[in-house]
């Protein structure tokens, strides 16, 4: 088969709903885009452990601490599922880790914001994980088998993250002390816009979307997913007397959609480029963790070598 014929068959397979598996033919661009997308997703999970991880030692109760530890543990696991999926495309763990630690690799910009209060932890569960679930539910249909399977597994676990956060915010907003209600509103004020930006640039500005849609990776556009999220969240906030922090927000009767004010895309690109409030801190924490873990890696390698020597 010529390359053109292979491409036709590849696209026909996707149209038939078949998963592309490791070992199957795929265009170089498909492989490249997926490695980029999956590794960014993996880095996001791992870096995402940091803003909440800081609150483990300051959780307000033992129960909250247990729940938060479980959530952060899950995120470590999610990173592992995704690195595995990227490796199935020929990337090595070493180069993926190096790309993150050197600052070359991108990860979701939402994790470059600080967690200033305990309510931030709850709001991240409701908003940030809620946005992630929207995206991941769509990606569970992706044409590449390992990525699709990682998404199904992650979605199942992410529901716990979403609900534990929502439950807390609902509590603070409806039954909490005035200080707790104020804390919940303050957290919403700071996390709303970064959460909207998680869905990526507007469709018209999204350079990678074309092939991703053509080859069955993205089946819904950034704007479509973002609008679903906005419509759901605005309704839910109003039910618990939280104010969506957007003076230009209006309900469009003709379409039934809530229309937001303009998103500050300058901020998005600046944060993505490395100029957000916590970019330096996040990268420093990852590098420190990697350096601090060196003795563990060396010990395990020595132990394995010893065992192999005994077996001969």
């Amino acid at each position: 088969m010529t390359e053109d014929e292979k491409l036709v068959e590849f696209e026909a397979r996707i149209a038939r709903g078949e998963k592309i598996e490791p070992g199957d033919w795929m265009p170089d661009e498909y492989r490249r885009q997926l490695i980029r997308m999956i590794s960014q997703h993996a880095h996001s999970e791992v870096v995402g452990m940091l803003p909440e991880g800081q609150w483990i030692s300051a959780a307000p109760s033992l129960h909250r601490k247990l729940v938060l530890i479980a959530k952060v543990q899950d995120e470590a696991g999610h990173g592992q599922y995704l690195y595995h999926a990227a490796e199935s495309l020929g990337a090595t763990r070493e180069e993926l880790i190096d790309a993150l630690l050197s600052g070359k690799a991108k990860y979701s910009s939402v994790f470059n914001y600080p967690t200033l209060t305990w309510a931030d932890v709850a709001m991240i569960g409701w908003l940030v994980d809620g946005a992630a679930i929207k995206n991941q539910t769509m990606l569970a249909h992706a044409s590449y088998g390992p990525y699709s399977r990682a998404m199904v597994r992650i979605c199942a676990e992410e529901t716990f993250h979403h609900k534990q956060g929502k439950e807390m915010i609902v509590y603070y907003a409806t039954r909490g002390a005035p200080a707790q209600r104020a804390m919940a509103q303050d957290a919403l004020n700071r996390w709303w816009w970064p959460s909207l930006m998680m869905f990526g640039p507007h469709d018209s500005d999204s350079s990678n979307s074309g092939v991703l849609t053509r080859w069955g990776i993205k089946t819904k556009s950034n704007d479509a997913l973002r609008q679903e999220f906005v419509d759901e969240m605005v309704e839910e906030f109003s039910q618990i007397n939280l104010q969506t922090p957007d003076p230009a927000l209006r309900f469009e009767a003709e379409t039934g959609h809530w229309r937001t004010g303009p998103i500050n895309w300058d901020e998005f690109w600046q944060v993505l480029k490395g100029n957000g409030p916590c970019n330096a801190e996040r990268l420093a924490a990852r590098r420190q963790a990697h350096a601090d873990g060196l003795w563990v890696r060396e010990a395990l390698a020595a132990s394995a070598a010893k065992k192999a020597a005994v077996v001969g």
Binding site: H63, R93, F160, E167
Partner: protein, 187 residues
């Protein structure tokens, strides 16, 4: 062994005794014993596990439906040595969305992996095979049955890891709802 690039081990999880081992993903580890521990942390945070197997990825022969078709539908002979050994056969039979990949369909004795694959294709004809994996028994490290309780049962108690432990029904705007949450903490 380099700093971050340990060998990759594919992980197979058996949820309950009456279900087959299923491929769930992979871990990096310096050896099989450590890979089992990593596999538990990564893939068994929530209950329903009776047994875990790991095997080095490089020991596994993988063949997709498309790859097989490109070879004319039959496994190409190879000149690898013939030495009778036990091989585990895994197969993906569905295109439905799932979190597991190939699953164990049986074991057979063959002279080398490609011969094992040929035999498997001839023997296991009850369902369409989208992907075959051949895993040598000699490459498998497995959790011990007597360890299953101590390894996997503790996850059963950790119900706070389950989404069902959280109540998120919103109160009606005109009245406060009675405590719908199993968590009655004040913080």
């Amino acid at each position: 062994m380099s700093d971050t690039q340990w060998p990759r081990f594919e992980v197979f999880k058996q949820d309950t005794l009456d279900k087959p081992h299923q491929a769930v993903g992979s871990v990096h580890a310096p050896d099989g014993e450590t890979a089992l521990l990593m596999a538990r942390n990564v893939f068994v945070r929530r209950p329903k596990c009776h047994s875990l197997w790991v095997a080095p990825a490089e020991a596994i022969l993988s063949m997709t439906h498309e790859e097989l078709a490109a070879q004319g539908g039959a496994v190409e002979e190879d000149s690898a040595e013939f030495f009778p050994a036990l091989y585990h056969i895994f197969r993906k039979t569905s295109q439905r969305r799932a979190m597991t990949f190939v699953e164990h369909v049986g074991a057979l004795t063959a002279g080398n992996p490609r011969q094992a694959l040929s035999q498997a294709i001839a023997r296991f004809t009850d369902a369409p095979a989208w992907v075959w994996w051949v895993v040598p028994e000699a490459a498998v490290t497995r959790s011990q049955d007597e360890d299953a309780a101590s390894w996997f049962d503790p996850a059963d108690d950790k119900t706070y890891r389950h989404q069902s432990a959280y109540g998120t029904v919103l109160p009606r705007p005109d009245r406060r709802q009675a405590d719908s949450s199993p968590n009655t903490t004040s913080g």
